[in-house]
């Protein structure tokens, strides 16, 4: 068992975990934060997406011991009030069974942050040349789909997820 310290949703946590623990298992099993889901456990579906030190990552492929000292934010977040992204998902019916939704929200929030700071996606190269240097001017449907490509939805709510994110971005 290894000791590690994480700040989870703003609360410092002193933890003890098997060295093999992923962040996903630690969040769900030790901290009872079951909002983050295990869809595939191999980095293929994105249901386990959380934020570590401000960036979205896959918690199923994060060895907890390797992020000792980091700040983690999960879907449970700091409170129960719905943020604009969550409200947009509700407004646009961006989910059916809800299993992928925690990961979708984590990624959607990140998409807005990444776009705001001028980050590119593969779709950015299909636009005009200065988009590569300066970042795309707006979040088109193509940009949203590409930036959300790491979050699968077996229920097929993709169209509404894109609408929700477009709405939240405006």
């Amino acid at each position: 068992m290894n000791a590690l310290h994480l700040t989870v949703n703003g609360t410092p946590q002193a933890l003890c975990a098997d060295v093999r623990s992923t962040l996903l298992d630690l969040l769900r099993e030790q901290l009872g934060l079951t909002g983050t889901k295990k869809g595939c456990d191999h980095g293929l579906c994105g249901a386990c997406t959380v934020t570590v030190d401000g960036e979205r990552v896959l918690s199923c492929l994060t060895l907890a011991a390797s992020i000792d000292g980091s700040a983690v934010e999960t879907i449970e977040g700091a409170g129960t009030a719905l943020d604009p992204v969550q409200c947009a998902f509700v407004r646009h019916d961006g989910f059916q069974c809800g299993y992928c939704t925690s990961g979708q929200i984590a990624s959607a929030r990140a998409v807005l942050r990444e776009f705001a700071r001028g980050d590119l996606s593969a779709a950015s190269f299909d636009g005009c040349r200065h988009a590569v240097a300066d970042g795309p001017e707006q979040l088109s449907d193509e940009e949203i789909r590409e930036r959300m490509a790491g979050n699968l939805c077996r229920c097929g709510a993709y169209a509404n997820i894109v609408s929700a994110i477009k709405d939240a971005a405006s």
Partner: protein, 327 residues
């Protein structure tokens, strides 16, 4: 998963000492941890190199750019120096994996990722020379749709899955490593190794050597370059074939050309004669087709991947068109 000893390294030399004692380097973990879950890898010890100061992306004295091996794929793809001077590299990195994975994965790890051949990835399949030398190659007579056209051997037909490496190859990048015997650097082509008789080796790293960074020489290709990735899905899939293409145009004539193929060999595939065939002429479809023919001349299709030959040729033409017209 078998358990393992785990420590954080605070210095490069400290990391190398741990590796010399048998520990495996651990950075983003997006491939290694997955292979550990699958039972393909079972290291007895890991040395985490995430705290090492290897993330810098800076201009070099020679007018090129140096990228630390610990820089994340996202950091590299989005860095202003890369976007401005090596957009092909940015495009290649962004065409791989997903944002979540690119936020975790490092430059060094991207080079060291293992093949995704399904026989390699699943220990239930016992015939894999890369995983278990001498056990045979199940892909040769089995599922080989996604496997190599070039450089394969009787023992292994797997491809290297990295998109970043294909662009680094076209951009003449050098890979810098540091080990118990000091520092050295190699070209991307020298870094990777074809399967030959020893498919268990993917690259020429010596025991305990740590990739510390890559350097990109000054490039004249930024204005006209492109990375084209052809795959079964629009996103989040490995390449069937990919092309890194770059040309320098002066008065409507190609004076420099770089062409590298991905998804078709255990290393990015470049043929100097294909690039030479473009130099001195205009950027026309006819010229592009000739280059594509020369580049794919030595293709040796497998029972299920013959489609990749025409796909590679057509993709080269498309990529060169996009490169020539961009900017």
């Amino acid at each position: 998963m078998k358990t393992f000893a785990f420590e954080h390294a605070d210095t490069v030399d400290g990391a190398v000492r741990s590796a010399a004692a048998g520990a495996r380097y651990y950075a983003g973990g997006t491939n290694l941890l997955d292979l550990m879950k699958l039972g393909v890898e079972s290291p007895a010890a890991l040395v985490d190199i995430g705290r090492l100061d290897l993330r810098a992306i800076t201009l070099t004295d020679g007018g090129g750019v140096s990228v630390g091996a610990g820089a994340t794929n996202s950091a590299v793809a989005n860095h202003p120096l890369i976007r401005r001077h090596y957009p092909m590299l940015s495009q290649a990195i962004l065409s791989g994996a997903t944002t979540q994975i690119r936020n975790m994965a490092t430059v060094g790890g991207n080079l060291l990722q293992r093949t995704r051949c399904p026989y390699f990835m699943d220990p239930t399949f016992t015939h894999c020379n890369k995983r278990d030398p001498g056990s045979g190659c199940a892909a040769r007579q089995g599922f080989n749709r996604e496997h190599a056209l070039f450089g394969a051997s009787a023992g292994c037909v797997a491809v290297h899955p990295s998109d970043m490496a294909v662009a680094l190859s076209a951009l003449d990048a050098r890979v810098h490593v540091h080990g118990p015997d000091g520092s050295r650097s190699v070209s991307v082509d020298e870094f990777f190794v074809l399967p030959g008789q020893s498919p268990e080796r993917d690259n020429t790293l010596r025991a305990a050597e740590l990739i510390t960074g890559i350097t990109l020489p000054p490039s004249t290709l930024a204005e006209h370059s492109w990375y084209l990735k052809v795959r079964d899905r629009h996103s989040y899939a490995f390449a069937l074939v990919s092309v890194a293409a770059g040309v320098e145009l002066v008065d409507g004539e190609i004076v420099t050309a770089a062409l590298s193929l991905g998804g078709v060999a255990a290393k990015p595939w470049r043929v100097a004669a294909a690039e030479a065939s473009l130099v001195g002429g205009p950027p026309t479809d006819a010229a592009f087709r000739t280059a594509a023919e020369v580049l794919t001349a030595g293709a040796v299709p497998l029972p299920q991947n013959g489609f990749k030959v025409d796909l590679a040729r057509n993709s080269v033409v498309r990529a060169l068109r996009s490169a020539s017209s961009s900017g």
